[in-house]
């Protein structure tokens, strides 16, 4: 758990979008290093890390520079959560979950950059109630 008082002090210091995305990218990369110990999945893991690094970095430009306290706390709690993971199999699962959690907290999509972007695929449009659609202003 992120210490409440400490989190507040830390957040006041670096409570900006760029700092939050940098922390998220670094935490995601660390998670990838843990996951890499599953050698059979090395390629998939590196594909995920590379693709989502671009997506996470793109969040730096996805909204106001100043984050709300709730947004900053969400990012730090999510980073703390994946920092507790020691099982590499669980780490693989979180390599795709974590970026979307961060994207939701910061009000941006992590799908819009890099290879295999859903935006450029033949896949269906997101559900009408998708947060990604909401964030893009296309939903309710």
């Amino acid at each position: 758990m992120v210490p409440r008082e400490g989190a507040g002090r830390y957040a006041r210091r670096v409570n900006d979008r760029l700092g939050a995305t940098r922390r998220a990218v670094a935490a995601h990369r660390d998670l990838g290093e843990l996951a890499e110990t599953i050698e059979d999945e090395w390629q998939y893991i590196n594909d995920l890390v590379d693709a989502y690094a671009l997506g996470l970095e793109s969040l730096a430009e996805a909204g106001p520079r100043k984050l709300s306290q709730a947004q900053a706390d969400a990012v730090d709690e999510a980073i703390a959560e994946i920092g507790l993971i020691t099982d590499p199999h669980k780490a693989i699962d979180w390599l795709s979950t974590f970026p979307h959690v961060i994207g939701l907290a910061l009000g941006g999509s992590v799908d819009g950059a890099g290879p295999s972007s859903a935006s450029g695929s033949d896949g269906p449009e997101p559900d009408d109630d998708s947060p990604f659609r909401l964030l893009l202003g296309r939903g309710r």
Binding site: D93, S96, T97, H100, A118
Partner: protein, 225 residues
Amino acid sequence: MRFQDAARDARAIVYAGIQADPLVARAGALLAESTTAERLLARAAMNGERTDGETWRRIFPTLFGEDVDEKLRNHAELVLAASLEVAERGEAARSSYRGAIVEELTARLLARRAGADAPVKRERRVLFDGVRAEIHPYDVTVESAERPEVYDCKWGARGINADVLNQLDDARSHAADEEMQMRVAIVVFDARRSCEIRLDRSTAEHGGTGLIAMESLNELGERGR
């Protein structure tokens, strides 16, 4: 071509006990009525390290923040509670529960458009004339005489592998041999992007196999699919 119940081996009997757990039905029903953000919460919390609700409320301020509509926040609380119950079953049981919940969710969404002439069933094999039966059953089927559908359900994109893709494609092609148009698809409770990354590296034939990922689960219940 015809559908058949899967053989009940020891593993299937144990798994049937999990499928019948009321928690699976409750989580499946909640997730069928959930937004994608709530489904993301469920995926995270069911697979989390921490099982205290306050942590997850802080991670998802768009669901639990003070400015969120009370009705939406209350529904998110139900999703969170069910997800944490799954997490609290322990690491060993989690994966079975999660898989069963994805199947339950898939069946419930498909049931929105299924009728008496196209019942939704679980754990079924498909038999084709002159073709040796597959050992593994399909998780969910829509048994329409005109346009049958078979679905394999996965918790994560990592579950997409050559065996799964080959079995689905074989079913589609065998059905075509019998002049049947069968929809085959994989339902993955994971982000579309991670599924596409997985599929991009797969050499197994999957051009005729549909992908329903977390962001587009509701399409399962839409007519005309």
